[in-house]
């Protein structure tokens, strides 16, 4: 790790990390990106390819980095047939093009399924997470040991800064969302438990069988088989039956969560989940006749992820906060994504997401290939970041989000760059008015539940 990267990432433990004005960060960030580029330029094959195409030999400022940022879709660029046809060596080779560390040889002849393969990679220090493929292809993200260490520290810092909750191990932990059993999620959960969990209570976890990468990608695999015309009716029926069973198990688990929360209402709670799960559990708690007056007045809540297209009433946040008696100054929101490794917590006073010094923010044009001029104030466009803390893959990612970034001080008094709380996904903004006679067989695959 180079000197500038080290200087900036060391700030993760600094109280004032969000107070540094952007003008003071700019030079150090450029130097740090260049250090990363020098270290990784030859080791990450995809990066080497892009650098060659762009003729980049040095990073002097953010403009030089733009052609080297990976679109978030880069992590979905593997052919799905690698999954459906269980070509683990090929998938391994693909991971090798985005990893700075060579993927050690893994005996793939006897790999049972993707979960088995991922376990074998984990044992060698390659941690593979994947995003849920409910609306399409799953992104496969590889990380290294240092990334797990970083997550452990960063997640506690982010939550503590955003919610004002000190890591004093005085809270009863409740996790109510169905969380994928991938290394990053497990690391975050364990780190939160160690920092905030009251050792007198066993942590509550949503009682459902672990959700594995295999389960997340099952649908993708079946979809591919349907497209190829090789899926048999029995397979489809079996898949639908399993989905239905899982949905029922999940319903029951929410009821158990609600009952357990009510039983623990006198304790000071740390409730974590995603909005959809939190809203469902809160509704059950209300139906049982409990609400704000029954819960501890200093509860806190950790929300991960966005709405994921869940349909919730407009007041879902207030409803959840009220149900569990979350005080106004404990409301927590974090902007991040699986592709990055650091969070951007929202401040209480200004209601904006703050970008830490080791994250280099970029606002690009919609196509994501040009840096918008930014001489001060707030500008809007496609978000990209370079997470200097990332070790097991390239830190530069172009997101699917539309953001407004401000480099002037926030109302909360912090002088570092911040993002307005109205982030939207370009995918959700696109109209659905396109009609043409050309198209693919994807349109012929009826939805799977």
């Amino acid at each position: 790790m180079g000197g500038a990267v080290e200087r900036l990432t060391k700030l993760v433990r600094s109280e004032d990390r969000f107070a540094i004005p952007y003008s003071e960060l700019r030079q150090a960030q450029a130097e740090a990106m260049n250090e990363r580029f020098e270290e990784r330029g030859d080791r990450i094959k995809l990066l080497a390819f892009r650098a060659k195409e762009a003729g980049t030999t040095e990073i002097r400022g953010r403009e030089d980095m733009v052609p080297l940022l990976f679109p978030h879709t880069a992590y979905k660029s593997y052919p799905e047939s690698f999954l459906s046809e269980q070509k683990w060596d090929r998938l391994g080779k693909w991971l090798g093009t985005v990893s700075p560390y060579p993927i050690c040889d893994i005996e793939t002849s006897e790999v049972k399924d993707i979960d088995d393969w991922i376990d074998r990679l984990s044992a060698k220090g390659h941690y593979v997470s994947c995003t849920s493929g409910t609306t399409g292809k799953s992104a496969m993200l590889i990380a290294a040991d240092r990334d797990m260490e970083w997550s452990r520290v960063d997640t506690v810092g982010v939550f503590s800064w955003g919610s004002g909750v000190e890591p004093e191990r005085d809270r009863r932990m409740f996790g109510v969302a169905p969380i994928a059993d991938v290394p990053k999620n497990v690391t975050i959960r364990d780190a939160q438990l160690a920092a905030f969990g009251d050792p007198r209570f066993a942590p509550f976890r949503l009682p459902v069988p672990p959700i594995t990468v295999g389960q997340l990608t099952n649908m993708v695999v079946l979809r591919k088989a349907i497209v190829d015309g090789t899926a048999r009716p029995d397979e489809i029926a079996q898949f639908e039956a399993t989905s239905k069973e899982r949905a029922e198990t999940l319903e029951r688990a929410y009821v158990i969560s609600a009952e357990s929360l009510v039983a623990a209402r006198a304790n000071k709670l740390f409730i974590s989940g995603m909005w959809n799960a939190l809203h469902q559990v809160a509704t059950l708690v209300r139906e049982m006749g409990y609400g704000a007056k029954d819960f501890h007045p200093d509860n806190c809540i950790y929300v991960g992820g966005g709405l994921k297209r869940a349909q919730l009433p407009p007041d879902y946040q207030e409803f959840v906060h009220e149900t569990f008696n979350i005080p106004a100054n404990r409301k927590f929101q974090n902007y991040s994504m699986q592709e990055l490794n650091s969070g951007m917590p929202r401040c209480q006073k200004g209601g904006r997401y703050h970008v830490p010094p080791w994250m280099v923010p970029f606002v690009l044009n919609e196509d994501g290939d040009e840096l918008l001029p930014h001489d001060g104030g707030e500008i809007e466009g496609r978000a990209a970041f370079f997470d200097l803390a990332l070790d097991g893959r390239w830190g530069g990612v172009i997101t699917g989000d539309k953001i407004s970034l401000d480099v002037n001080p926030c109302l909360c008094g912090n002088a570092g760059p911040s993002i307005r709380d109205d982030i939207m996904r370009y995918a959700d903004l696109d109209g659905d008015d396109k009609i043409g006679c050309a198209g693919t067989v994807d349109a012929y695959v009826r939805g799977l539940s």
Binding site: L46, S81, D228, G229, G431, D433, I435, G436, A438, V441
Partner: protein
């Protein structure tokens, strides 16, 4: 290219920069720019008049205006209108052209060429051919045709005009001319819902017709309007069997899903599904430099139709034969993709970001994938041993080297429309298996965009589906 639509719903604003879109309601041109939209493909602002829903619906108590007009007279009228489709003389087409180049990804010259050949669709021969191949007895369009069954019982049949909404495709500006002709031939009452990438040509065409005869029953049977596809206020209200019999829709995905919601007894969908087309070339195609030259040109002709925006444009080329010849073919094909043609430009739009990413990855993995050209819209050829998983577009051909063309049949599916074959003699040996896999059309390589008149479209004869078969029986 993705387009950010900042205002997915219709907006009432006063902006004067927006392109004006006129509506056409049964012979009357409706102007006004009260409602503003952004085009889907290029994000251009345009403004339409407010839609008065009552005007779009002809009560069932009124007989269709074309009911008693003989087919012959309708065809004469369409031919007379076709004769006015001369770009140099027709101000409506000229005006439409200026606007289309702003909202449609097709290059100007391609749109001009399309306008220049549009009149060929409205010839007497072509129109009669389409009627005669669709109806065993075309007289059923003009009146009640008597028939007697095997038991000697008498009855009569009529192909009665229906009430139709046509959801037009946006990728071919002159596609509306066929839709208008079809709607007229079956004497239907037609509402054309124009696409955001071309809310102009259909009205230009109808205005041309109104100039020939403003009171002609064909003109009084046609309306063309724009609303944003999926607009519930309009679609929930209009899509009812009391108002319409059929919705004729192009495309798939959201466009069709929006329509499907409203289907039910009495309201039928006639869908032209989204399609992918392919080519198959046997070892004969790589035997000599001269043959390779000819085959590459034929393949490029099929790949580049409408800069590959069309369903009949080939995207995957399955090849059987010697590697050396195939690689030469790929190199030559890439060069021929970059040529300026009647319906394709030298440079198409660059490929979408996620596709470029997958192509980069194919190169980085240094597999057996070979690449000619760049994803810059000037022509790209990818030689692989399995088809790529993305949708090749903007003049991209994925050449797939298979051991035998028989192995390529498994890549034919229910979305496969046209298969261009070389040598053409292979067609007859393969066409049954291709049909069984789901394909609809097999042609000579290079002939994807040329048609034998009066053929089937999307595995059906659409005109048969456009009528309301009414039966009068004396049993």
């Amino acid at each position: 290219m993705t387009t950010l639509d900042l205002q997915p719903k219709a907006q009432h604003t006063d902006s004067d920069d927006a392109i004006r879109v006129d509506h056409f309601i049964r012979g009357r041109v409706i102007t006004g720019g009260a409602v503003h939209y952004y085009s889907r493909d290029l994000g251009v602002e345009f403004a339409t008049p407010e839609i008065l829903l009552d005007e779009l619906v002809t009560p069932r108590s009124e007989l269709p205006p074309l009911l008693d007009v003989p087919t012959e007279e309708i065809i004469d009228f369409l031919v007379a209108c076709g004769e006015r489709l001369v770009l140099e003389d027709n101000v409506y087409l000229q005006e439409a052209l200026e606007h289309i180049v702003a909202t449609n990804p097709l290059p100007r010259r391609v749109v001009e060429n399309l306008f220049r050949v549009a009149r060929n669709r409205l010839t007497k021969e072509a129109l009669w051919c389409s009627v005669e191949t669709s109806f065993a007895n075309p007289l059923a369009l003009d009146g009640w045709v008597e028939r007697v069954d095997f038991a000697g019982q008498h009855g009569a049949l009529r192909a009665f005009p229906s009430r139709m909404i046509h959801m037009m495709a946006g990728n071919s500006p002159t596609g509306c001319i066929s839709s208008i002709a079809d709607g007229a031939l079956v004497k239907a009452i037609n509402v054309f819902k124009m696409p955001s990438s071309d809310p102009f040509t259909c009205v230009a065409m109808l205005r041309t017709m109104a100039e020939v005869d403003p009171d002609h029953p064909v003109v009084r049977s046609m309306s063309a309007v724009y609303w944003r596809g999926g607009d519930e206020r309009i679609e929930r209200t209009l899509y009812r069997p009391q108002y319409f019999d059929k919705i004729v829709a192009w495309g798939g995905g959201d466009a069709i899903n929006n329509v499907i919601k409203y289907l039910g007894p009495g309201l039928q969908l006639v869908s032209f599904d989204p399609k992918t087309s392919i080519s198959m070339i046997g070892p004969e195609g790589f035997e000599s430099g001269a043959v390779i030259e000819e085959v590459a040109e034929a393949a490029a002709t099929d790949v580049t139709v409408f800069n590959q925006e069309a369903c009949l444009a080939s995207r995957f080329i399955f090849v059987e034969g010697e590697r050396e010849g195939i690689e030469k073919f790929c190199a030559r094909l890439q060069e021929r993709l970059g040529v300026d043609r009647q319906t394709a430009s030298e440079v198409a739009h660059p490929l979408p970001v996620d596709t470029r990413e997958e192509i980069t990855m194919l190169q980085v993995m240094d597999d057996d994938c070979m690449v000619w050209g760049k994803p810059d819209g000037r022509g790209l050829v990818l030689l692989t041993s399995d088809p790529v998983e993305f949708h090749p577009s903007s003049k991209t051909a994925n050449v797939v080297h298979v051991a035998s063309l028989d192995d390529a049949v498994r890549f034919v599916n229910v979305a496969t429309q046209t298969i261009g074959m070389y040598p053409p003699e292979r067609k007859s040996a393969m066409r049954d298996r291709l049909a069984s896999a789901g394909a609809q059309r097999v042609v000579r390589l290079g002939g994807a965009a040329t048609h034998v008149a009066g053929g089937a479209h999307d595995a059906m004869f659409p005109l048969q589906h456009f009528v309301h078969w009414m039966s009068d029986e004396d049993a």
